[in-house]
Symmetry: C2
Subunit: 196 residues, 2 copies
Amino acid sequence: MSNYCGTSRIAGCQFSLHPMSDRFVDIILSTLEEVDTSKVWKNTDDVSTCIRGKMVHVFDVTKAIFLHAAKTGEHVAMNGTFSIGCPGDSDADVYMDETDTPLNEEKVKSISQVAGCKFSLYPLGREDYMDKIYEQIDLSKHRNVKVTSTHYATRLDGDVHNLFQALYESFKLIQDQVSHVTMTFSLSANSPTNQA
Amino acid sequence: MSNYCGTSRIAGCQFSLHPMSDRFVDIILSTLEEVDTSKVWKNTDDVSTCIRGKMVHVFDVTKAIFLHAAKTGEHVAMNGTFSIGCPGDSDADVYMDETDTPLNEEKVKSISQVAGCKFSLYPLGREDYMDKIYEQIDLSKHRNVKVTSTHYATRLDGDVHNLFQALYESFKLIQDQVSHVTMTFSLSANSPTNQA
């Protein structure tokens, strides 16, 4: 029952949410109340939260948490790493039995929020890792996302829904070709730097 | 002049600092005022800061920024990725002419601060990347740091000076063996979760 290779593999995301506000505890708690995480395995400590399950739900939950926190209007940042194919990674397999319908999309689709995002792909165990990055990732089709090169990362700017669509597709395409892949991301919304 | 391979290679760190406080702008600005970044190349935007130079200075500046922000007593998080050997990475080479003396150690060494940290090493372009991680990293000698396994990362707990020493040595050892390495980290200090 636990072998999903070839169909859908278990993915995960380790992330931390940072509302730059005295109300950070309330914002984090109310955000978590609004997001349905029942289709992913979840573990939280003082440093970060780890969720695991089908790729579609891992991205659905991550996006929903960022959107619900950002809609407070506070300056909110989210940092994390998506991962798939990590050797020995077999916990939470029961969550692979969930259906593919994302639980949070209906509730968050009306939230309009721009953000900046930097992300980096790390295909592991491959000498041709740079080729794999360049071959698989065509961000030019994401017309609603502004793409910029920066040191160590690619910067995306646009609506959060479009940013996550680009992240999801980049990650999905490359993990079809490479067994173990991680993708780091840093998201920032409502920064006073942009309002100045 | 720009070829430092074999002696010291240019390293970098892309990070973001998140004080969970209404005073986040003041904390970030006063922190940056207290930290001497003159031995590293630096670029900041609304998502993150990127510094580049000799490994010793990249770690010195990163640690000093976290310590000066955390000593305010506010809940502060810092997330980032250290990187070395990224192909095409040749900007800021002039900073490799700096001497090896860290500029911030004297000022921060008296700051005592505990924190939690999760980090992950990604040696790139190697089929034996898991072996390289296990071979090179012996965290057991860092007796003042508590080491725990978590999903996708290793957790370190202890004084920030000891945490950074463990991070620095892990990164330094593995980059002696592998050309292109990245290391992600998440640091958290003064979390109310720990004070409850």
